[in-house]
């Protein structure tokens, strides 16, 4: 009996030790908890880098989605027809995209980054180690990124509008605002960010990655801010903003010139000055992903071939070949001709023997914005402000210096529509696979001019006007009214 009691007590002691509540405190070694991360040394740098990393994360998909909508190219994955059908065909016979399909990107990603920008801004505001100038600089940079992310959203959703201000509690729905309100929010945010950058002192309290070389101090980042502002204002001008927006765009572009020197750029090196996403094959880093090597299914629409027939942009803008009858230099450098044509899976498309070579290697950088775009934006803005001659001069500067082509046959006396055609022609080659053509065609009401490869049958193609909201967004708004209901799916 006594022995039994002893054994019992010994057993109880063993179990008691095993049952100490302290043993239940198990840390999570795989990911940092938010509280732990916020207070850690170097947290600001990591958070800010995370924001630029996320900005990069969405770029490839933004380019491949807009490239397919804008008939710049295809993703002909042999075993995955949806990479073709969900962009070019949509829901068969309905001329619309599937909200539960593939073509719903450029939405969750940007808002995810905006969430992190808000989280980081709160951390910056409460960081006692930063000076007022440093806080101002940091905020200016982050808000510029916020506006850029929203610009990606609204340029893919257009008249559907967008959510511009996130709620602190993610379970609380934020209202949708109109396209007009969204553009105004973007431009005001960019202007406010610009002011913050100008008040940001000599340096950021963090390091920007090498893609920001030349734009990595508050003063030079401000040039980047102005370039984005010029793009946003030009988009707004052709999306309901009108003349005031053109004026705003012109002012921003002028301010950007100090960093980009677009007014004088002629060489390819000049034209490539800008801000880039950088890639590498290092462990933990990402490869380009839309490059000639890493994504061999990224092909170019056959209408890009020299003197391809039936492309509206080829008419009336001047010769498409250089004086020696060889193709445009941009064609030669950005497009590879394949020995054998590639076709879409299962009759979803037509063959093409052109492959995308805009990004030749897995470490090729992808521009966020660069001078060549600014020169052509300059042309657009000048035309918008009734300076046709200035517009033609700007486009010719790209056309002759970069394309190697003779000057355009369009003159200041030509109808405005023809001058727009001429600008869009240059953008088509100069900014191939940089995420513009589809948006530009929509802005100028020319989506109907994009080529359709298949016009009849269940696989008939159409040109999407906007990308749908992801189904999850619609589902979470079921039963809501007014601005909370959003545009639906």
């Amino acid at each position: 009996m006594k022995k039994g009691l002893l054994i019992g007590l010994a057993a109880a002691t063993v179990l008691g030790t095993a049952c100490s509540a302290d043993r239940l405190t198990v840390p999570n070694p795989n990911t940092a908890t938010q509280d732990a991360a916020q207070g850690a040394q170097g947290a600001l740098q990591l958070q800010v880098t995370g924001i630029f990393r996320q900005l990069r994360g969405g770029r490839g998909a933004q380019i491949t989605a807009t490239a397919r909508f804008g008939r710049e190219g295809y993703i002909y994955t042999p075993n995955e027809g949806r990479n073709t059908s969900h962009y070019l065909i949509g829901l068969s016979g309905q001329n619309r995209l599937d909200p539960a399909g593939f073509a719903v990107g450029i939405f969750g990603g940007p808002y995810g980054n905006i969430r992190d920008i808000f989280v980081t801004q709160a951390a910056i505001a409460g960081n006692a180690n930063l000076t007022a100038a440093q806080k101002s600089a940091a905020s200016g940079a982050l808000r510029t990124v916020e506006a850029l992310e929203l610009l990606y959203v609204i340029s893919s959703r257009d008249t559907l509008g967008a959510v511009v201000q996130l709620q602190p509690d993610p379970q609380v729905l934020a209202p949708f605002v109109t396209r007009d309100s969204t553009y105004r929010y973007i431009l005001n945010t960019l202007d406010a960010a610009h002011a913050e950058l100008l008040a940001g002192g000599a340096a950021f309290p963090f390091t920007l990655h090498s893609g920001f070389a030349g734009f990595n101090t508050p003063a030079t980042f401000a040039h980047f801010n102005r370039a984005i502002t010029a793009r946003a204002a030009a988009y707004y001008a052709t999306s309901g903003g009108g003349a005031t927006a053109w004026t705003r765009a012109a002012a921003a572009l002028a301010a950007a010139n100090a960093g980009f020197a677009h007014t004088t750029a002629t060489s390819a090196a000049n034209m490539n000055v800008g801000v880039y996403h950088v890639y590498s094959l290092s462990t933990g880093d990402a490869a380009n992903g839309i490059d000639r090597i890493g994504n061999q299914d990224f092909l170019v629409h056959p209408s890009y071939a020299p003197n391809a027939i039936g492309t509206p942009e080829l008419t009336g803008t001047g010769a498409q070949l250089k004086a020696d009858n060889t193709p445009d230099n941009r064609y030669l450098s950005k497009i590879s001709v394949l020995a054998t044509a590639r076709n879409a899976p299962t009759g979803l498309g037509i063959p093409t023997n052109l492959a995308m070579n805009v990004y030749p290697t897995q470490s090729s950088s992808v521009p966020i914005i660069r001078t060549e775009e600014l020169v052509l934006l300059d042309a657009e803005i000048r035309l918008g402000l009734a300076d046709a001659a200035g517009a033609i001069a700007a486009l010719n500067r790209v056309r002759t210096n970069i394309g190697g082509l003779p000057a355009t046959t369009v003159t200041a006396a030509s109808p405005t529509a023809d001058i727009i055609t001429a600008i869009l022609y240059e953008k088509r080659f100069s900014l191939l696979a940089e995420g513009h053509r589809w948006i530009d065609h929509r802005r100028y009401g020319r989506l109907n001019l994009l080529p359709l490869d298949i016009t009849t049958g269940v696989n008939a193609h159409f040109v999407a006007r906007v990308m749908p909201l992801p189904q999850a967004e619609c589902l979470s708004r079921v039963g809501q009214t007014g601005a909370l209901a959003g545009p639906g799916c």
């Binding site: 054994i7 990655h209 999850a472």
Partner: protein
Amino acid sequence: MGTRKLVSAILALFLTVVGTTASAQGTREITGKITQVGGAPLVDANVSVLGQALGARSNGEGEYRLRVPQGEVTILVRAIGYKRQTTRVGASQSTADFSLEKDVLQLEGVTVTGQATTMDKRNASTAVALVNTDELNRVPARSIENQLSGKVLGARIFENNGAPGGGAQIQIRGATSILGQGDPLYVIDGVIVSNATIPNGLNSISRAGGGIGGGQDNAVNRLADLNPSDIESIEVLKSAAASAIYGSRATNGVVVITTKRGRSGAPSWSVVQRIGTAALARKIGFRKFADISELVPADDPLTSGNESITWVGNAAAIPVAQALCNPTCTNYDYEQQLYGRTDPTWETLLSTRGGAGNTRYFASVSDKQEAGIMLNTGARRTAGRFNLDQTIGTKLNLSGGLGVTRNFLQRGISNNNNAGISPTYDLGYIPHVIDLRKRADGTYPVNPFYAGGSSVSNPFANSYEIVNDEEVWRQTGNFRAAYEIFSRAQHNINISYNGGVDRYQQEGLAYSPPFLQFEPNDGQSGTASLASSQVFQFNQSVNAVWTWTPALAWIGNLTTSFGGTSEEQTQRTYRTLARGLLPTLPVTQGGNVTAVEDNRQTVRDQSLYLNEQALFLDEKLSVAAGLRADRSSVNGDREKYYIFPKYSASYRFTEPTWATQYTDEIKIRAAWGQSGNRPRFGDRDLLYNNGGLIGGLGSLVSAGTVGNPQIKPEVMTETEIGLDLSFLSQRLNFEITNYNRSISDLLLTYPLPPSSGLVQKIINGGELSVKGWEFGITAVPLQRGEFTWTSRVNFQANKQMVENIPVPSFAVPGSFGSTYGRNRIVSGQRSTWVWANAPLGVAGAVRDTIVGDANPSHQTQFSNDLSWKSWTVTTLLDWRNGGTVSNMTMNLWDEGGNSRDYNRASGTPGVSVSDERYAAFSSGDSRVYMQPGTYLKLREVTLSWQAPSDFTNKFLRGAKDLRLSLSGRNLFVKTDYWSYDPEFNNFGNTNFNRFIDLAPFPTSRQFFFSVDIGY
């Protein structure tokens, strides 16, 4: 309050109370002999005083010696496989002999009721599912789950696909969780073992999903490491009332496995040698091409742009095709060439058991080499086990076991992929007109049938050259010490300690050599990944059991037990992935290491429990009640105990007045209980993720999933009522059970609007329910002379519902999109509905809607055993009625224009049935691929011959026993299902979405010849 103090205080109090009520009495000895009907001595039968825990065991001659209290006692004798017997032994009587009858219908046995308590099956107040070693081991299988298939009423058992080595899922009474653990808890000799499925890294080559390893890797769940021959019995605790003893890990039921233990008597040896083979059970078949006009349509495919056949888009393939089909095409049966392997499977089992004095032992070694039907696949499991029981003095019992297993698997490539390497996937696209087999010089033909060589490959080259090896070394150990503190006529107190360890190292190597056709696609030829996982699980419990047998007419006995448990599970997984390898080197070093994964998880649980079970009214009324309090490191509040209660009762009408002449016994039983399913590791944490590098700088980004510091276990509440009927001297028995389970506080992800910038938040809420019926009939329809026919029918059906959810309806994670069918969680709808795209009305808008139900209307099994003299035939038929399957394999073959019915005309002129299906699918109607999964399978059949002893003596000197058997698994499958097997699932073990058939490893028929020799 310190738990230590609490436990000590309770224990001390308990001992005091018991000590004062007991009184000492003298004892006497009873001896006797136990035989089976017919005369042979019964070894290792258990003899005890009715109602008392401890007893004696018969020796090699069937003799026993039992110490009993003074006065008249009732002696109970039990032996596995025999019907129990009780006899009253008078105060002056000192001998008692017993002769036990065979228990052909398995009415005997005990059921687990607690950490340290059991109860006779006939008194059980919950439905009991027991499978013994003979029933389990009739026909060998890849892994133990398959051997249980059709034998556990209430469990659905699925094989994930036909790859060697195992991989199967057991789901008991429906899905109980959406995101939480969906597998039952497996307990082997008191050790809670890991049944984790740890992907190995095939994903890095197949690119089926993100990450180095993925859920579509066709990895095995680790129950595959168990040698089924070592098992004595398996009990499945189904209802919450039965499983509540395992607290917050028990909603999916508990599978309690007991391995063989020593028996007193001279050592006996058993040698089993098996040889077998497997053969492709069904072929999908393929489209036959007569000549070039079928292969390359007359209109120029490069300009028409509207061809429905993928590969003609490749201009380079046309001249190759023209050369191959000149003037007619030769059609190659790729399935036969890839999956036609019939190499032998070997299995050798050697075991011994015996005992002398206070020591009993069981030891076994086994080696099984299974050949896969696919080229270059196979599995080899080598295992050893040693179990020892030692009694020290009269009061202390020690027992322990050790098991060591090496399991080596080469499961080949199967399932989904995005790299063009999964053979069944590829065969859907390649016209079968070119001989792609390995050439005599070791090289492989280039597969021409795709443009540009992107994601195109030769499936034969892939099968031979891609390495997908997995090796596991596993050790399990258990130790139990039981001490009888106090034993008197009316009181018996035992305390026990139980500890168990399960640890293994799993190493996965995946290697795709640089020269393979598809490898240069990403600019980096060659892929290698290494995955290494360490799993360690430890559990221990301390238990005190007090059995009170009052000398009262209406109380049989009362058993009170209490104790506590502590558990820990640790898993560490490291993986590296390299692309762009040096030639011939399969290691990741030397290539570009593009990803490294390092994941570590530790979960600790603690619990306290108190159980009470009692028998009243001459053991007719059985009552049980219990409480278990659990806390865990994965709960939001780590210090809070969550309580799981249970109550159950049964009553046996042994002499019903209204039907005395027909009924032997009617038992009614009712049980109510709660069990839990704890949150997952990390669900409680609000997380920042590693965002990776950009420009050499590290980053942090918010995790899309927001953790919840208030997260708590899911709770299942289940009511079970049942009726067990026995007729005709127990030759006909019915078991009827109705259960009604409701699972609340579900672990859910609240889907956040994408515009919030986050993806989801983890919450508790909502309710699932499962309502179902189980019917079992066991009968001996014929027993005449030496002929016995035993028959069993199991029928099960249930209805699984989402009663309500506090979140918008959502698709269960872990599947494809609406195009391919998946379960959706929608309030008020069945959780097993299959949702997919379909047009509403004629040519209506395409909507994600209900197109089927993955849950069959019922699953019924028939097993029949016929024995005549020394011959035995057993069969097990499994009938599943309904259950929608998403036939994505067919979708692939239709898309590739390679389906066997490609040339069969449909109603529309010029359009084949295959084209018609694919066109319907393309236009948004996925219903064409959502097909019924009804089947009738002959799961098991055996013919065995037990050699007469004179024969054995003549041919095998010294042998006592010789049995020869021929057996087969899945020999016959009748189903209208189009591809290999409606049972398979691309994602392996999953709570929902268990119906995605996508390019699986094909199913096979398996044949075995076994020789069992006993010495």
